[in-house]
């Protein structure tokens, strides 16, 4: 994290909110991604574009994915009766959480916390792909796709357009 802050802002520093959010992704991978906890596989990629003062991040796990996980554990038909499709469910889950409306067991606030980081402009270009859902928050695209992906993939950037939420 200090190296990432140096690439963007020119100073080594902590970025507590980003660090905590990556922790949420890890926790979600362990909690939701796998039925067998011994087979947890995840990957965090960090690319430094030093001349552009930009760092690109990607986080991926190859578990069952968010939709399939809850589809297996809850009455998904009841959830879909409230929302028009899987993409709409996840858009809502990230932006506001949906437990109160649907009774879904989103115990933590992991998904809204990830969106909050984007909404607060600490990161930009947030993209999420999980199962048959593609969410691009910058482009306001929330749709289902024809190439289902078993797992969860995140992409985001930190650059000079972001809020400098780091501490030396």
């Amino acid at each position: 994290m200090p190296k990432a802050m140096e690439t963007v802002w020119g100073e080594n520093g902590r970025c507590p909110e980003l660090f905590g959010t990556i922790g949420e992704m890890l926790r979600n991978a362990c909690d939701h991604a796998f039925t067998n906890g011994h087979k947890i596989v995840w990957h965090l990629g960090v690319s430094h574009l030093e001349h552009q003062n930009t760092v690109k991040f990607s986080f991926v796990d190859n578990g069952v994915g968010i939709i399939n996980n809850y589809n297996n554990r809850t009455n998904w038909a009841k959830v879909l009766a409230v929302f028009k499709n899987n993409a709409a469910v996840l858009e809502k889950a990230y932006k506001k959480g949906i437990e109160s409306q649907t009774g879904l067991p989103w115990r933590g606030e992991g998904l809204p916390t990830i969106y909050e980081l984007y909404n607060d402009n600490i990161i930009t270009n947030l993209v999420v792909i999980t199962n048959n859902v593609y969410l691009d928050f910058d482009k306001n695209i929330f749709k289902e796709i024809n190439v289902p992906f078993s797992g969860t993939y995140y992409f985001w950037k930190v650059d000079k357009t972001c809020k400098p939420a780091y501490f030396v």
Partner: protein
């Protein structure tokens, strides 16, 4: 006043919710430091100051679990009225802690 500086007294890289989640969890923080410190403050009739600043970052599950257990042990209103949370770096952590303190009342 009794003070806990989490990065100095517990860990600069706090973990997740429970012992099962790995080291330096919210549950471990409650068991090893938070519970006894709050009890001491209560016995002395002073508030407990908890400093969050200086860490690498907190997960919501760490904050929720530690302060949920504190609210459960001592009562939500009493806890909230006798805590001073210092989080100048990320002020929104204070609201997450408050949610944790009152979590048992909203279940």
């Amino acid at each position: 006043m009794i003070i806990i500086d989490i990065p100095k007294d517990f860990s600069r890289t706090p973990g997740w919710r429970t012992y099962e989640d790995g080291p330096f969890s919210g549950e471990e923080f409650f068991d090893k430091l938070l519970k006894d410190s709050f009890a001491k403050a209560k016995n002395k009739g002073v508030k407990l100051k908890v400093i969050l600043d200086g860490s690498d970052g907190y997960t919501t599950s760490f904050l929720n679990e530690a302060f949920r257990l504190l609210g459960k042990e001592f009562g939500s209103d009493f806890v909230w009225n006798n805590l001073i949370i210092v989080s100048n770096e990320v002020p929104k952590y204070i609201e997450r802690i408050k949610k944790g303190v009152y979590a048992m009342e909203t279940k």
